[in-house]
Every structure is written in structure tokens, then in C-alpha cells.
């Protein structure tokens, strides 16, 4: 499907949502009335025996979900369109060219230890990320804060430069709020569930926090977050009914899961991507013709079909997927053209094979995709020699260093963040070493731009530069595939795993509840859940939450204020 011609972005999002997402999953979200009780089990990867409860060390899917269950951030993100929702801040407003932000905090939130959540806690929680010894993945966000001043439950944040996306950035999971002065990180937060038992690399058991400030949330009594690092173990635990939500399943098992009674498949339009980096600062890829030749030498449709089982979206060599509100639909799409690629390859003057480094470290699709790329490029007369490096040490020895290598970038809360982190000239994460003053100027200008149309326009320019000249090949954005048991109600799929980290407080069980294991839940037919009728409408499931006033603008909890 060519989504650039005739179909507006909004229509496109609506149609993909209808076809790809909700058609497949509608039975799962037949809703019954919310009811308290039960133990929800979630399985996800990225846990390790070395894990700690220091938010500054949270840097994996497992900890994003754990953080979304134990803690609150000021701002939350929900749904496929990354809608901003109130967290501990019930509203926010930017002024002074988005340099000054005023947050109005809820006044009835309490920590698990009974203490109320105050602005002092918020200030402390944000500051620790920029402390000397911090290795937080949100350090750059905290470093952009010039000062914070509090007045009752109102918090004013002064930034070093204007940033329209600051509230969205505060939804990043490590920026969760902990009590002021916490130095021994024991997991006390203000979130819907408090820790009953934490066994690093194994399991996190949580029970409901009775003083939770959201009144119609946290339905289940207990939550278990299982460290299920192996996708096969995750899939079988989901099939057997041991876990209700299994995130980040192998896309190739999706078809199988779909056929299981009592199980539903959810596909998330994630902005995570696997790409190939061509280092623009050294031979041979310091040649723009060669870079473009490679971009035209990969068959994106074929990659989508064969690596991701058709579940994903075609990329245009920028980190902005077509479903993102900032996606520039008007710029030329790079697509497979062996003749043109051969021509540009000849023009570049380079001869001989190109060595492409790939590794399991950059996820399994990176390895499969490299093999396909070799096939595709051969048709353009370009020889690719694949070097498969061990996963151990890949990030420190190969990534951002070899001239031509596989990379992976997880989803960021805003498009601005990924553009800044991975492609701005001065960023330590600039793994293609591509430097372009116009691009840098564009993303800096966009952040301060008060007007949405203007902002979209600037971002389109930035994407055009990256797509036509940049050093990264992003053929496809693969969907994240999740399994959700149909007995789980109220699940709101987002762009991040497990209901944008916060499924634990969203969902409830369809009663009568079947016991886990021993009584196989999958014996139940899907019809049992269809009878209640109704279907999932994005933004309506939790009707209480907000009135949306445009992407990223003030939204508030009407029933809490």
C-alpha cells in the first residue's frame, strides 16, 4: 500500500488501526464492567540478576513495565497515537517559547510508605538523573532543566532552551517519582502496586497500593512481573496460561497465537527499528552516492514480508515511522530500484565487496535482514559480505565503529528525542557519524516553534535531509507483537509494550476467573468473551480520563480536579 498518494496521514492511521490492529484483536477487548480481584501475570524480557530498584538504572523493557507498575511519572502516554495523559501532573502549560513549563500536580497522591507526594519529591526525582554518577538513559532530559521552583502543588520548570516536547519526555519511564532524599532504593513509589517480593532476574510480586490516587484504576489485587527473557519461554508460558500478557513475542509465532482460543494478538506500531549504519565520516561511505545506492538496493517490501511476517510499516531511512504525527509524507520515498542503485554505485567509484557487520545483539531481525539485503543488493551488482559478530561486546566493539553495521534503537517517547539522540552532529549516540548543520539547526528550531504547522514543516525538512543524505538505512519498522489473554479486559494497546508500561493499572478480569495452570484457561472458547458485546474504541475505553485538546496540549483528569 502506498500511503503517500491521496491518503492523508490521519486516514492512513485510521485505516491501519482498523485493519491491522483492532480487526485482529477486537474479540480480546469485548468489555465487561470493571471488577476488582485476581492476580495478573505479565512476562517480558530484559531482566537480569544484576537489576536494582534505582530508577537511574532502568533501561530495559522489563524495567519499563516494572516502573509503570510501581511508580508514576508526571505525564503518561497512552494509545496508538501517543496521546499525552495526566500522571502525577494533572495539567501543564508551556510559555516563554516553551522554555518555561508550569505543572499542576495532583494533591492526593501518596507513596507506598504513606507519605504524600509533594513538589519536593518531584524535584529530587528529576535531579538525581543528572547527578555526577548517574548512568540514567534520561540524563540528557534532566540536564536540560535549568531550575525548578515550587509553589504548593505547582511546579515551574525552567529549561536551558525551549522544548515543546518536554512534557512528553517526562513520560520516559526512568523519570518516575520517588520520595525526596531516597538513597537506598527500595522501590517505594506512588504507583498502583507496591513490591511484595523482588527477586532480581526472576520475578517481581506486587500487591495493590490502597492509597493510590487514581480512583478507578488498579483493579487486580496482585501483579506478577516475570523475567521471561527467552521469547520461546515467553510464548509457551503464554500458551499454557501461566502469564496473561506476553510482550515482544517473535513475530513469526504471531500466526500461531492468533489461532489459540482464549488468546488474542495485539500488534503495536512501535517506533523501534533495526537499521544499517553507514559511517558518513569515513571511506567508503563518506560518498553520498554510495549511501543512496545502498538505500535503493534493499527491497523494503520483501524485508517486511519475510523478516516481520508482514507486520510492520515501510521506513524511509528516517527514524520517524509513518504512523507518527511528525512523519513527513510529502518527501520522496526511497524504494527498491536495482538499476538506479547500480548506476549510483558505479558513479561512486567504489569497487569490491562491502563488509556488513551484524549480530544477535542488534536483535534477530538484524541478522535475517542482513541476509536479505545481500540478496537484494546482488541484483544491483553490489556485493555485500556479511560478518556476523558475537553478541558479547557488539555495542562496545562494533556498533558506531565499523564502517557498515547493524543498529537497533528502541522506541523513544517523542520523535524529537530519537532525532536528537541518534542523528544530531554533537550527540554521543550519533552512530552514523553523519554531520549536517542544516539538520541540527532544523531540530533545534522545531523544539522552540510554538506553531504546529511550522513545526511539521521544519521536521519535514529534517527528514528530507536524513532520508536523502543521512547514513542510516531504515527499511522497516517492525511491529511489536503481544499476546493478551481474552480474560484480560480494559487493555489499551499503545506504542510501547504492555499498554505503554501501565497495563497493570488498566486491566481487570472477566469473571468467573479460571485458575492459572491446572485448569487450562485456553479450554474456554472465545465466544465466552464475545457475549458481553461492545468493541474497543481508542480513547473511549477509559472515558473518565481526559478531554484531549490536540496532541501534547493540556489534558486533565476531569474527575480528580
Amino acid at each position: 500500500m502506498d500511503h503517500r498518494t491521496g491518503v492523508s496521514r490521519r486516514q492512513f492511521i485510521a485505516s491501519t488501526a482498523a485493519l491491522g490492529l483492532f480487526a485482529a484483536t477486537a474479540p480480546a477487548f469485548a468489555q465487561s464492567a470493571p471488577k476488582k480481584g485476581g492476580t495478573l501475570a505479565i512476562g517480558i524480557e530484559g531482566a537480569s540478576t544484576g537489576d536494582t530498584l534505582d530508577p537511574r538504572t532502568f533501561n530495559s523493557p522489563y524495567w519499563s513495565v516494572a516502573a509503570g507498575t510501581i511508580f508514576n511519572t508526571l505525564v503518561e502516554v497512552q494509545g496508538p497515537a501517543n496521546e499525552l495523559k495526566p500522571g502525577l501532573a494533572k495539567s501543564w502549560e508551556g510559555s516563554n517559547g516553551n522554555k518555561t513549563w508550569l505543572f499542576d500536580l495532583v494533591d492526593n497522591a501518596t507513596f507506598h510508605n504513606g507519605k504524600p507526594v509533594t513538589t519536593a519529591d518531584v524535584i529530587y526525582s528529576l535531579q538525581i538523573h543528572n547527578a555526577e554518577d548517574s548512568r540514567s538513559n534520561s540524563r540528557a532530559i534532566a540536564a536540560g532543566i535549568a531550575s525548578m521552583t515550587a509553589d504548593g502543588f505547582k511546579l515551574t520548570v525552567e529549561l536551558t532552551e525551549g522544548n515543546y516536547f518536554f512534557p512528553a519526555m517526562l513520560s520516559n519511564y526512568p523519570l518516575c517519582i520517588i520520595p525526596e532524599g531516597t538513597t537506598t532504593f527500595d522501590g517505594v513509589g506512588s504507583g498502583p502496586y507496591k513490591i511484595a517480593r523482588f527477586s532480581p532476574g526472576e520475578v517481581l510480586e506486587l500487591t495493590r497500593h490502597d492509597g493510590y490516587f487514581k480512583t478507578d484504576a488498579a483493579w487486580v489485587d496482585q501483579v506478577v512481573i516475570l523475567a521471561a527473557n527467552d521469547p520461546a519461554a515467553r510464548a509457551s508460558a503464554f500458551q499454557s496460561g501461566q502469564i496473561h500478557i506476553a510482550s515482544m513475542l517473535d513475530t513469526r509465532t504471531a500466526e500461531l497465537i492468533k489461532t489459540l482460543p482464549g488468546k488474542a494478538l495485539v500488534t503495536l506500531s512501535s517506533s523501534q527499528f533495526v537499521g544499517f549504519n553507514m559511517r558518513a565520516d569515513m571511506a567508503p561511505f563518506d560518498n553520498a552516492d554510495l549511501r543512496m545506492a545502498m538505500k535503493l538496493a534493499i527491497d523494503r517490501e520483501d524485508v517486511l514480508k519475510r523478516v516481520y511476517g508482514g507486520m510492520g510499516r515501510i521506513g524511509n531511512d528516517t527514524p520517524i515511522p509513518p504512523n507518527d504525527p511528525l512523519f513527513a509524507a510529502g518527501i520522496p520515498q526511497n524504494s527498491y530500484n536495482p538499476e538506479k542503485a547500480a548506476e549510483l554505485f558505479k558513479k561512486s567509484g567504489f569497487t569490491g565487496p562491502l563488509q556488513l557487520h551484524t549480530s544477535d545483539a542488534a536483535t534477530v531481525p538484524a541478522v535475517d535482514m542482513a541476509a536479505l539485503f545481500k540478496e537484494h543488493a546482488a541484483k544491483a551488482g553490489i556485493e555485500i559480505e556479511i560478518i556476523r559478530d558475537p553478541a558479547d561486546g557488539y555495542w562496545s566493539n562494533v556498533w558506531a565503529q565499523a564502517p557498515f553495521h547493524a543498529t537497533v534503537w528502541g522506541a523513544r517517547p517523542t520523535a524529537d528525542m530519537i532525532l536528537t539522540t541518534a542523528y544530531s552532529s554533537a550527540s554521543p549516540g550519533n552512530d552514523t557519524h553523519w554531520t549536517n548543520a542544516d539538520f541540527d539547526a532544523a531540530i533545534a528550531a522545531a523544539r522552540g516553534a510554538p506553531d504546529e504547522a511550522k513545526r511539521l514543516d521544519i521536521y519535514a525538512q529534517a527528514q528530507a535531509l536524513l532520508s536523502s543524505d543521512g547514513g542510516v538505512i531504515i527499511p522497516v519498522f517492525g511491529d511489536v507483537v503481544e499476546g493478551v489473554a481474552t480474560m484480560v479486559q480494559g487493555y489499551v494497546p499503545g506504542t510501547q509494550p504492555v499498554g505503554n508500561y501501565r497495563a497493570a493499572e488498566q486491566v481487570w478480569f472477566a469473571w468467573p476467573l479460571k485458575k492459572l495452570c491446572l485448569t487450562p484457561e485456553h479450554i474456554l472458547g472465545p465466544g465466552d468473551f464475545l457475549k458481553s458485546g461492545g468493541s474497543h474504541v481508542p480513547g473511549r475505553t477509559k472515558g473518565r480520563i481526559s478531554e484531549r485538546r490536540g496532541q501534547g496540549e493540556t489534558a486533565y483528569l476531569s474527575d480528580l480536579s
Binding site: 536494582t52 520475578v203 561486546g393 555495542w395 487450562p520
Partner: protein
């Protein structure tokens, strides 16, 4: 012969001393090997912890914090001096004391091993004896065939087949054997079921074969031939004459089987995500968490060397002839 009692004890004492020394040397070598081996792997704790977020400054700072900027030999010596005093340091990845990380996992491993042993040993030893009694019968052949089949089958395959049948299809047991959710002792049965069945299936073959061979070896001796000539029934020969003589061998086999169940179950622990020592070691290698890997390796070596020692020691105790100094030498 003037001090018969001392004379009689001395082979025993010699045995203990020599095995003690060789055991200590083995342990030392094991720690050195693990240290060097882990250091040879690409990357270190700092790069594993930081992953894609590794900037040169962050790497340097973290390496300094963790003491990874010291030369390898110095780090080993530092570790050794502390370890001798019983201090295994702190985990590089989490900062928790190694003992705090290790002990719960050791407990889990011992639990799994002992439950598996309770089922495995009677089945395997009994099967081996029965196979020897009815040597070359259809029963012996069937047992030989099935045990070879399971011996040849990779451990993970057995695990996955069990998961498919009992977890995915029937839904009787959980496929991931993580500690029970908010559960008590009864829940543990549920959790342990599949790993234990796997271990019994995989481990029995070896033990059964060795038991059968040990008994058949005794059956090939002259005194058994004599007994047969005298017309004593085969069953009586085996139970009254062969079994006591094969007992030391069977005891050794059983103890080594238990050692195997503790040490060699890494694959099963991984397949079922069981939080034992083996899984801890594998996870820690991924993070180059040298202190934890080192402590796991040491513990494994200690268990294995200790069990071997115990097996040989018990063999000596059970068999009086082996306690005597070698004659005519």
C-alpha cells in the same frame, strides 16, 4: 606390626590428606581458569551494563568504580586474598553482596537436585539391578534401548517436549518454573514437577547403565561362577553375593549422580527458567559479573570435588579390602 591400629588407619589418613591437597589445587586452578576465561571474552561488565548507552566517559567512570582499570593479575590476587578469608566481594552488576545473591540460588539448586534424586536413584538403581538379573531378556533390551534413547537426546529437547505436552497442551504444570507467585509449599510441587521429570528422564540412563555394568562385572568373577556351579539361583546370587560387592560402585555412582544433578543442570534450569545456581552463572557471564561467576564456579567445583571425595571415601568404608595397603607392592 607393633602398632597395628595406627598402621591400619594410615592408608585412610593418607587418602584424606592426598585428596585434600589435590582438591585444593584443583579449586585454585578452577578459580584461575574462570578468571582468565571471563576476562578473555569480548567486552566487560562496564560495557555490558551500559550497552548502547556506553560513551567513552561513562565507560571510563564505571570501570574506575568497579576497579576494572586494574591489571588482571592484580584483580585476581585481590579477589584471592579476600576469598581465602571467606569474603567473595560484591556483585559488579548489582552491588549486592555475592553471598546474598548466591545463597538463595544454591538453596533452589539443592532443592531441585534432592527432589530429583529421590525419584531418580530408586528408579535408576532398581532398573539397573533388574536389568542385570534378567540380563539379555526383553526387559533388559527395552530398558537398554530407552535409556540409550534418552541419553542420546539433548537435555533441552526433553525439556521442550515436556513443556509442549504438559504445559501447553494439557496445562497441568507451568512452563516457567519461577518461584510460585504468592504461593506456599504446595505451589512448589507445581513448579518443580517438570524440571524434576526432565532430570529423571535425562539422568537415569547413565546411572542405570553404570549400575547394571557394576553388577555384571561382579557376576563375571570366579566366586559367582562357583556359586552358580553349586546351583544357587541367579536372583539369590545377585542379591546375596553380587550386590554387596557391587555396593561400593553403586554408592559412587549414586553420589556422582547427585553431584551431576546439582552442577550439570544448567540447560534444564535455562529451559524452565528455574532460578538455580546454573542459571545465575549463565546470566552473570552475560554481564561479565566476574565476582558472581567466580563464586558460582568455585561453588560448583567445591560440590563436585567434595562429592567425588565422598564417593571414594564411602567406597573405602564399605569395602574393607580397599582399606588395606596394597599387598605385594
Amino acid at each position: 606390626m607393633d602398632l597395628p591400629s595406627r598402621k591400619q588407619l594410615s592408608p585412610m589418613r593418607d587418602f584424606i590428606v592426598s585428596r585434600g591437597v589435590s582438591g585444593a589445587v584443583s579449586l585454585l586452578l578452577v578459580t584461575l581458569l574462570i578468571f582468565v576465561g571471563t576476562a578473555l571474552l569480548p567486552g566487560d561488565t562496564a560495557s555490558a551494563l551500559l550497552g548502547q548507552n556506553a560513551t567513552p566517559e561513562a565507560l571510563a567512570a564505571l570501570r574506575r568504580d568497579l576497579g576494572l582499570d586494574q591489571p588482571l593479575l592484580l584483580r585476581y590476587l585481590g579477589w584471592f586474598v579476600h576469598a581465602v578469608r571467606g569474603d567473595f566481594g560484591t556483585s559488579l552488576a548489582s552491588g549486592r553482596a555475592v553471598s546474598e545473591v548466591l545463597l538463595p540460588r544454591l538453596g533452589n539448586s539443592l532443592l531441585l537436585a534432592s527432589v530429583a534424586a529421590v525419584f531418580l536413584l530408586p528408579v535408576a538403581v532398581g532398573g539397573g539391578i533388574a536389568a542385570a538379573i534378567w540380563q539379555d531378556s526383553w526387559f533388559d533390551r527395552l530398558l537398554g534401548f530407552t535409556s540409550m534413547l534418552f541419553l542420546a537426546m539433548p537435555a533441552f529437547l526433553v525439556g521442550y517436549i515436556l513443556i509442549y505436552v504438559f504445559a501447553v497442551r494439557m496445562g497441568w504444570f507451568p512452563s516457567m518454573s519461577v518461584a510460585p507467585f504468592f504461593g506456599g509449599a504446595v505451589a512448589w510441587i507445581n513448579i518443580l514437577a517438570l524440571p524434576v521429570i526432565s532430570l529423571v528422564i535425562i539422568g537415569q540412563a547413565h546411572t542405570m547403565k553404570l549400575t547394571r555394568t557394576a553388577i555384571l562385572a561382579v557376576l563375571a568373577t570366579d566366586y559367582v561362577l562357583m556359586a552358580e556351579v553349586k546351583g544357587i539361583s541367579r536372583r539369590r546370587i545377585i542379591l546375596r553375593h553380587a550386590l554387596p560387592n557391587a555396593l561400593s560402585a553403586i554408592l559412587s555412582i549414586s553420589i556422582l549422580t547427585v553431584a551431576y544433578l546439582i552442577v550439570d543442570v544448567v540447560v534444564i534450569e535455562i529451559v524452565f527458567s528455574y532460578p538455580g545456581l546454573g542459571k545465575l552463572m549463565v546470566d552473570s557471564v552475560a554481564y561479565r559479573d566476574l565476582t558472581v561467576v567466580q563464586a558460582c564456579g568455585l561453588l560448583f567445583a567445591l560440590i563436585f570435588i567434595g562429592m567425588n571425595f565422598l564417593a571414594d571415601f564411602l567406597a573405602l568404608l564399605v569395602n574393607p579390602r580397599q582399606r588395606e595397603p596394597a599387598r605385594g607392592a
